[in-house]
Symmetry: C2
Subunit: 420 residues, 2 copies
């Protein structure tokens, strides 16, 4: 893959994203098996930044009131370190959520152990967990695996990391992109996990994205928040949010990488585009691997009075069980889509709403286009594994996009007897 030239990338969609392992200058990674819950697979991953100053880091965490212990610790460390992070340690199988003070003590001890081994400040180590709520991680078990974890670090073992953080995921999720601006290359690559948007016993959304640019932590945090709103916060499998959700972006500030900052808005904008493209691809991979999902659908709302309004309508449609079952059944049921839009709590004139399935108009100015040919083509579109539902509210110029999947027998199978 050759880097996308900045002048050829006007929007996120212009960025080519690869779903294969990569290497980002300044980062080493590895993963090992602890056996804490799983057998025969890695479940403890490490991302290490070689820069002695640490990577510049931005983080977005769950808004659930039940915040897991590792989320509390990482949030605090990120703040205390001024956004300078040397290492991130992630375990799968045990979430360390709803574990009280003892859970906090164990998460903190794990970070401290790793910091001591790496001669880092404790606050420059972040931790993340995913797995069963209510269970404690075993600090001694983790401690015993740290030497092996550190002995085989490699710049390109991202696929191993992606596999180590899986729970109910059926496949690892990796994405990377490269861009070129003013003769310097910007590299962005990341891994993610998530299947049910949450199944608090055994899912969670985690994503770790690395880049070689030099950037201030504050600027990176700002960009990540904007990008997350348009990517990881714009997907839904079942509308739930977990106790452990964590997205981190780490910039190694590598000498080979580009310098991006607020004094160079063009470069900063291009970096944001690349980051958004990678985050969007990882987010879509989560939806594609949604529990029981057989189809991925983009819900786009245009002509909205505000972006929040557009998002509210898009999310209501994306989360409607009736829309999601219609997608599963290949039933191009426009009535369910417009009725979901109508209850989103957004004010618009129903007599001006238009609805498109891919490029096919099925509903115009508040009325269905009742026509056998339209119905036939709409049904064909709903049989595809990927398509777009677009609503034009004709009430402004703001827009939003959300990705969703279908609600299937598979979802019920997975979730009805999860713990047994």
């Amino acid at each position: 893959m050759s880097p996308v030239p900045a002048e050829a990338a006007k929007s996120t969609s212009d960025v080519v994203v690869d779903r294969k392992p990569f290497a980002i200058p300044g980062f080493l990674v590895n993963a090992v098996e602890t056996g804490m819950r799983y057998r025969g697979r890695p479940d403890l991953a490490l991302i290490l930044c070689e820069n002695p100053e640490g990577a510049a880091c931005g983080g977005v965490f769950t808004k659930n009131l039940f915040e897991a212990a590792p989320v509390k610790i990482s949030r605090e460390h990120l703040k205390e370190s001024g956004g300078r992070v040397g290492a991130v340690l992630i375990n799968a199988g045990i979430a360390n959520a709803c574990t009280g003070l003892e859970g906090l003590v164990r998460a903190k001890r794990t970070a401290r152990l790793l910091a001591e081994r790496l001669r880092l400040r404790e606050t420059s180590v972040l931790v993340a967990s995913t797995g069963v709520i209510g269970n404690h991680i075993k600090v001694e078990t983790i401690e015993a695996r740290i030497p092996e974890l550190l002995s085989n670090l490699s710049p390109d073992a991202w696929d191993l990391v992606a596999r180590a953080i899986m729970t109910t995921d059926t496949r690892p999720k990796v994405a990377c992109a490269e861009g070129e601006i003013d003769s310097s290359i910007i590299r962005v690559g990341g891994v993610a996990k998530g299947s049910g948007m949450i199944a608090p016993n055994m899912a969670t959304m985690l994503a770790f994205i690395c880049t070689d640019v030099s950037i201030e932590p504050d600027t990176l945090q700002e960009i990540l928040s904007q990008v997350t709103d348009k990517t990881f916060n714009a997907i839904t499998v079942d509308g739930d949010t977990s106790t452990n959700d964590t997205v981190l972006v780490l910039a190694s500030c590598h000498p080979e990488g580009a310098v991006v900052g607020k004094d160079e808005p063009k470069k900063l904008e291009f970096f944001e585009l690349l980051l958004e493209a990678v985050c969007r691809d990882l987010a879509i991979q989560i939806v594609e691997d949604g529990e029981g999902a057989t189809k991925t659908v983009e819900i786009r709302v245009i002509g909205a009075p505000t972006r929040d309004a557009a998002m509210a309508v898009a999310k209501t449609v994306a989360q409607s069980p009736l829309v999601k079952t219609a997608i599963y059944g290949g039933d191009a049921n426009w009535g369910r889509v417009v009725a979901a839009a109508g209850r989103a709590g957004v004010s618009f004139d129903p007599d001006r709403l238009s609805l498109y399935f891919d490029n096919l108009c099925v509903f115009k100015d508040g009325r269905p286009l009742d026509d056998e040919e339209v119905e036939k083509r709409a049904t064909e579109i709903f049989s595809r594994p990927r398509f777009r539902i677009c609503l034009d509210l004709a009430a402004g110029s703001e827009e939003a996009t959300v990705w969703t999947c279908d609600l299937t027998h598979g979802y019920i199978d997975i979730n009805a007897r999860y713990r047994t």
Copy 2:
């Protein structure tokens, strides 16, 4: 059934509600088959008030922006008639929603035709429809059946009315209660339909409740709004609301009935209790008949800072697909319940939350009661067809109750290929 004495009814639960046909002095009803969509079953129902002044009437309608034509007409007529209604005409099979100006004209013409036959003012006739969105009702077909509809009116054919308004419902829904206060009897009886909270092609929630009390329309409207919040607005099958949702309460102001008004708060309160008991029972019948449902669960939130907060937590838990699939699978998954509560947008201290399944405490002050015996008993409770999930937020003294059903393979079957 003998009437509940007012002094023995301290709360709604003290009122005995019967699920059998009834008669309310002052009302005559009937239903016939039009064949507009169904064959071999009644699909056009009439509720007629014998009082020449009309019944005092209160109405609550859908908040969906896509308001069906009959909802628009009934809302307008209710206002223009000053809450005095002589007749209600209901058809099933065709919703007359998203039908534009022509839909409005047809709904209005139907009301006018019936008004002329009954020598009523047009605005004292209300109409309601449920069925396929986008299809028009046939005015001539309805007109042709009106003579038959009027020729066989009876005071106790409520079961026929309940069957005539069904769409995806698997059974008719009827409920009635009687109370005695100061030597006078208060009778309340009603019918409802609804299965998916909405399947905009073929469902909707409709409810019609009659009583013999004498009451001012304004007072009745006020009471209905309060009662609806605690009953019909406190149930969820799939979280959707339809284009046609309508709840009407009609009081015949019959000489035999009690006089209830604001100058007699004790009587008014007792009437409200009876009305709430009947509405709650009808609402629960809708949940019990929820699409694919096998279990009915009461979600109760106590210790909330405000009633709105309690309702928000209860609804978030009640609508969580992960909670609903756990109920289906008989998996007493407390983690899903607390995680849903934590993302409800309500501020409370997660370290003080307690959770009960029926009377069994499974989670106390933010921590699970991890114990084999608790787990065994919790699993037994989740195997029951009816049980209660109670969350104590320990953040105030307000409370709310919502009723929900499980999310099952049956729901997917019904909704994935609804129109085929």
